[in-house]
Symmetry: C2
Subunit: 228 residues, 2 copies
DNA sequence: CACTATTTTTAGGTACACCTAATCCTATAA
DNA sequence: TTATAGGATTAGGTGTACCTAAAAATAGTG
């Protein structure tokens, strides 16, 4: 028996696994997509895909991309769990703002041990979601599938709850945070304009927000039943 | 103007600076001592001493060892501050034991930002010492000199307070922790045997502890006035 | 002072993770 | 079906940080 599970892969390896998971979901990730996400060259990604396969973390076929094996998926989810728990801690206990937690957590997730992670989970009382609304994988490496869809795909007249917000862009988080468009809040969808993709929503205070296509794609929502 | 202060040196660089600071105090550290502390070869240390000098972090003369410049000292103390604050956090908020905090902090100190560090200090209410009794350098990079001396240099009949304990050996911490020989506690020195360096102390509960030379050197004490 | 033991340095090499430039596939569109 | 654009791979190279083995310098001892 080999020891993928016990030996801690380098932090680069972890970054690749997370990137593959994020861009490919269950399927295969292309070198280009992974390269873009990690801001490195495709050539480097090709090289690493080979090494990841040696390690049994991905299935890789030349010109066909790489997909996570069970080991690879487990490792990716372990890092995602760390990341999201750390983000939660940073906001709840250290007073970090919405926008700043991602970068700090990105560095920390490679330095903390599993013991640290589980003690943190304990301290935070085992949260199910992080501050951006993302689900936190459990310690045994499971993650229930998300049932939300982007606001850009909503229909006029619907009432929806914000479930999560893409945390990749600091300026997006900034904008949404200032306007109270954060997970948990309820919105009425007033208009979804096919022409330019603009979505107009009304918050509980009656305030209307016109959101461009990219913003509407960064906000994930679930339909809710009628107002009380 | 160059940018030593702003650019974050690699974690190796930081480890070297801390090692130099620990083995040399104000003076010059030999390649051998640093190599031993970091568990690497002397040849590697020679190479790094050169690079550290290029970076303006140490003064280095071949065959004479390396000593920290102002920049190097500031950087070392910044890491020491991080390390000791993290140790304090791990014990006080995550329930880590005395023995386990060092290893975890050693990895974390390279991943956290200055912002994280200062927010942590805030959360901990700006402690002056870490759980082992070591002084925590201030954010502006000053560290008041320690006024304690090893128990091995105490004299029979003295009453002393444990100020700090060397945190390098897990088994030492284990042993001392089990017996309550931790910073803050008061001891009566009963005997200091020149022959074998054994020191016999009596704690406040009247329990006697014979401590071998190495243990006595790991415990730092200050004299206290007579019993109340 | 000379010899020896210890310490330090040099020489040459490895692994990792990246890069650019050039070549090679693959899928699409004419 | 064949040309071509875009993506993927190979080839060759860089910097960091380590290693071992051999050579050189220093420090201690008779």
């Amino acid at each position: 028996m080999s020891d993928y599970a016990t030996a801690e892969p380098s932090s680069s390896v972890g970054d690749y696994l997370k990137a593959i998971w994020e861009v490919a979901g269950g399927g295969a990730a292309s070198t280009k997509d992974v390269a873009e996400r990690l801001s490195i060259s495709s050539a480097s990604v090709t090289g690493m895909f080979g090494r990841l396969q040696e390690m049994g973390l991905v299935r890789y076929e030349r010109y066909r991309g790489a997909s996570l094996t069970q080991h690879g998926l487990a490792e990716a989810l372990r890092l995602v769990r760390r990341h999201r728990l750390i983000e939660t801690f940073l906001m709840e206990h250290l007073g970090y703002s919405w926008q700043d937690v991602h970068a700090e957590a990105e560095r920390l997730e490679h330095a903390v041990s599993d013991e640290f992670t589980e003690r943190l989970a304990e301290l935070l009382e085992h949260p199910g979601r992080d501050p951006h609304g993302d689900l936190i994988p459990t310690a045994d490496g499971t993650l229930v599938p998300e049932s939300s869809s982007p606001l850009s795909e909503a229909e006029a007249g619907q009432r929806v709850r914000i479930v999560k917000v893409n945390d990749e862009s600091v300026s997006v988080l900034n904008y949404l945070g200032e306007r109270g468009l954060i997970p948990g809040h309820i919105l009425a969808v007033r208009e979804v304009r096919a022409l330019d993709g603009v979505v107009i929503v009304e918050d509980e205070g009656g305030e209307k927000h016109p959101l461009g296509e990219s913003l509407a794609r960064a906000i994930f929502v679930q339909p809710v039943s009628d107002p009380a």
